[in-house]
């Protein structure tokens, strides 16, 4: 028995009639690891878990729990090694929680034994670990869905197994309970060395709580590694067919994915990628909506001048937007301003985002001025109550000046996109900008 190897799966193949649910899957899980099993519906996550539990017979391959093949283990012995928290459990009787958790102690007894003090102690501890000890005498039928799922977890914990399998345990839970449940499982893994394999449909939860993420797609293992290594936009597009943006949670340093739309959704072809780009002037996160909206609408987008570590800079990077970027918190230097002006010169339309202006980026409003005449320029109005001028009134003045020079004010990023599209409509040639009403 290889010490420390909780699960060993090699070349696993599972067929249901004609359909192959799992193809040649390999998986080695060392003891004490928290594995998040991810994949779209029908990818084989549940089948894999059920094979580990011995419910499903593989047509080929090796499945071992702690060194012994699952098929060779009698049912009781299996229950001593692995416990299962299913997605939902059907129980119509109103069993008191403590008794329900005590059911999980079955495999530790013979046919005629009564529940001992040890059993009750373990059950009580399991209940307190899921935070339900004060409800021990309440019936299971009368508790909420979230509590119920925790009760199921408690029952599995009472089984005192070194391996715990969870099948989409967060399905029926609200977000608070989802995090609560997984946090408790995580703590169990860390404090008691329990090996956990959890099928999770939420990649971000997997990234947050699992040591290792294994991704299945159509019965194949397509990714396996730490969340940072595994989670990528390409993965989400390839496996789930979803366009997403990858971000890094500053607090934990863990990656997270923000799904945007389905891959098959064609962008509204308002613009074509030939012809010049649309330039977004922004910073401090204000330029991101415009950048995104323009990219979604099919325009090539440039941006500037941004600061490194600014979220706009990160968004630009993520969207593939070419940007003029200055060092963090530095005033805009000559080289960056030159680069910015070059970008402005190439643009066929300009969108000025409602970005907070301070001494370090006041130059952005100045550099834009020469180009307002030449190309359609749109000024996104700030949200009411938001102060944008941190440059002692110079910013406000500069914005008024731009308006008087021909920049049109629009209400939002979406309006800006529509206005750009309208302005560039006839074969991409810039049309004469419509005169604003207050001109």
């Amino acid at each position: 028995m290889a010490p420390g190897r909780a699960v060993h799966v090699a070349g696993l193949e599972v067929r249901f009639g004609e359909r192959r649910a799992l193809h040649g899957v390999d998986l080695d899980v060392p003891a004490g690891q928290f594995v998040g099993l991810a994949g779209p519906n029908g990818s084989g996550k549940t089948t894999l878990l059920r094979t580990l539990l011995g419910f499903v017979e593989p047509s080929a391959g090796v499945v071992e729990l702690f060194g012994d093949p699952v098929a060779a283990l009698p049912i009781r012995a299996r229950a001593r090694r692995v416990a299962w928290v299913p997605q939902s459990e059907v129980l119509r009787d109103d069993v008191p929680l403590l008794d329900y958790v005590l059911y999980g102690r079955y495999s530790l007894h013979g046919a005629l034994d009564r529940d001992t003090a040890v059993d009750r102690e373990v059950a009580g501890r399991a209940l307190s670990e899921v935070g339900l000890l004060d409800r021990a005498t309440d019936g299971i039928a009368g508790i909420s869905g979230g509590e119920r799922q925790r009760a199921v977890l408690a029952r599995a914990l009472a089984q005192e197994t070194p391996l715990l399998l969870l099948d989409e345990p967060t399905t029926h839970l609200d977000i608070g309970h989802q995090i609560d449940l997984l946090a408790r499982v995580r703590r169990l893994c860390e404090e008691r060395g329990v090996t956990v394999i959890a099928a999770l449909h939420d990649l971000n939860l997997a990234a947050r709580f699992a040591d290792r993420v294994v991704v299945l797609s159509r019965g194949l293992r397509v990714a396996d590694g730490t969340p940072g290594a595994v989670l990528s936009e390409q993965l989400l597009a390839r496996v789930w067919g979803v366009d997403a943006e990858l971000g890094i949670d500053p607090g934990s340093g863990l990656p997270y994915l923000v799904p945007r739309r389905l891959v098959t959704e064609a962008p509204r072809a308002l613009g074509d990628l030939t012809g010049g780009p649309v330039h977004v002037v922004g910073g401090g996160g204000a330029g991101a909506p415009a950048m995104r909206a323009l990219v979604d609408a099919g325009f090539r987008v440039t941006a500037g001048a941004l600061h490194l570590l600014d979220t706009d800079a990160e968004t630009a990077d993520a969207l593939g937007v070419v940007a003029a970027v200055e060092g963090p918190f530095a005033p805009l230097g000559e080289p960056v301003r030159v680069r910015h002006r070059l970008l402005l010169a190439e643009a066929r339309a300009i969108v000025i985002a409602p970005f907070p202006v301070g001494p370090s980026n006041l130059a952005n409003l100045e550099d834009v001025r020469p180009f307002v005449h030449a190309v359609p320029t749109f000024l996104i109005a700030p949200r009411p109550g938001f102060e944008l001028d941190f440059a002692g009134g110079a910013a406000r003045q500069a914005r008024e000046e731009l308006k008087s020079m021909g920049a049109r004010e629009v209400a939002s990023a979406a309006d800006a996109v529509a206005a750009v599209a309208a302005a560039l409509a006839p074969a991409g040639r810039p049309a004469a900008p419509a005169l604003p009403a207050e001109r």
């Binding site: 702690f66 012994d68 283990l73 009698p74 009781r76 012995a77 001593r80 090694r81 007894h109 013979g110 046919a111 005629l112 034994d113 005192e160 070194p162 008691r192 060395g193 329990v194």
Partner: protein, 359 residues
């Protein structure tokens, strides 16, 4: 965390051992229980004054010896060999047809119980016995022995009988109960044919020392049978008849082959339209009756059935026999209960339907 992964013997084996012990102990207890209850409370026949089996039983036929025997060995209609007390004073009769024999042989005073249906009492008596029979034989509800819907042994036991005469309406299980629990002998009388009635007369006569009366009765029966067959022998073509003993919305219940009713009909010189049926008591649909078109229709009365009951049957008024007025009612007991009354009263009445002048 303790990780007992060993499929090693100790805990599991100990558990399965204890289960084995439980099974062993349970079997031992069960065996003791069976043996104990059967032995400790061994049944001794507590029937009053049943003759001990050790006295050598003597057989009697019609010849009489100087000494009246204690018991008689008889073979009943089901082939059972039964040892019965000779001329018992307390007899329970569980069938109207047997009661007929017993009464005609002058043995009414010996009868302490008759068959009834629950609820007991006069209403239970009337389930099996017609008002005429009850009046004629002087029966009352206190003589009731419950034979249906289930057999109640205590109602028999309380009458302290020395002999039970029963027909097959009493279930085999009940017969066993009577003999084994009460130690009272049961003679089953179920004549298979008309001539079997005469055999039963002799049998009863032998038991009760009234062989003379039995012989006389049988002579009467023989003469009645002879007269009837004489009439039938003089006829070339038998008329067709529907003899029905019950009616419901689906049709008319009649006598099929192998039944007393059917043999009566034949004996009287008629052909029943259900003579070739597949079951013993077929229900004929009105269509069937119309096709077979019997010349006569005879219906059984009693126990709630009378002319208007049959008149309400399906398509009754369409039958040519009904339209021609060739419809007669007969006491259904005469057609269904195999006893001397069937021969002495039933046959002439039936024959009179077909051959009003000749009988």
């Amino acid at each position: 965390m303790s990780l007992n992964l060993g499929s090693g013997p100790s805990p599991a084996r100990a558990r399965s051992l204890s289960l084995t012990w439980v099974v062993v102990i349970a079997l031992v207890v069960a065996g003791a229980a069976i043996a104990g209850t059967a032995a400790a409370f061994e049944l001794k026949p507590a029937g009053p004054s049943t003759p001990p089996a050790s006295t050598p039983p003597t057989t009697t036929n019609n010849t009489t010896g100087p000494r009246t025997p204690e018991t008689v060995n008889v073979t009943d209609d089901l082939g059972r060999h039964v040892t019965v007390p000779y001329d018992p004073a307390r007899v329970v009769v569980l069938s109207p047809s047997i009661m007929d024999i017993v009464f005609r042989l002058g043995l009414r005073s010996h009868v302490v119980g008759v068959d009834c249906y629950a609820p007991l009492g006069n209403s239970g008596l009337s389930e099996d016995y017609s008002p005429d029979q009850i009046a004629l034989w002087g029966l009352n509800g206190s003589m009731c022995v419950q034979v249906g819907p289930s057999f109640a042994l205590e109602t028999l036991a309380v009458l302290e009988p020395q002999l039970v005469l029963a027909s097959t309406i009493v279930s085999v299980a009940a017969v066993e109960e009577i003999t084994s629990s009460l130690g009272v002998p049961v003679v089953m009388l179920q004549p298979p044919t008309l001539s079997g009635i005469l055999v039963d007369d002799s049998l009863v006569g032998a038991i009760f020392n009234v062989t003379g009366a039995a012989t006389t009765l049988n002579a009467e029966l023989n003469s009645a049978l002879y007269n009837a067959t004489n009439v039938a022998a003089q006829v070339y073509t038998f008329p067709t008849v529907l003899v029905t003993y019950s009616v419901d919305s689906n049709g008319y219940w009649s006598f099929g082959p192998g039944t007393f009713g059917e043999s009566l009909i034949e004996l009287c010189g008629a052909t029943s339209i259900s003579a070739n049926a597949t079951t013993a008591y077929p229900e004929l649909s009105p269509a069937q009756v119309l096709i077979d078109d019997p010349q006569y229709i005879v219906y059984g009365t009693g126990f709630g059935l009378n002319e208007s009951t049959y008149a309400g049957g399906p398509d009754w008024s369409d039958f040519p026999a009904v339209q021609a007025g060739n419809v007669t009612g007969l006491n259904s007991n005469w057609l269904t209960e195999p006893d001397p009354t069937m021969i002495l009263l039933g046959i002439p009445a039936l024959q009179a339907v077909f051959y009003p002048g000749l009988a």
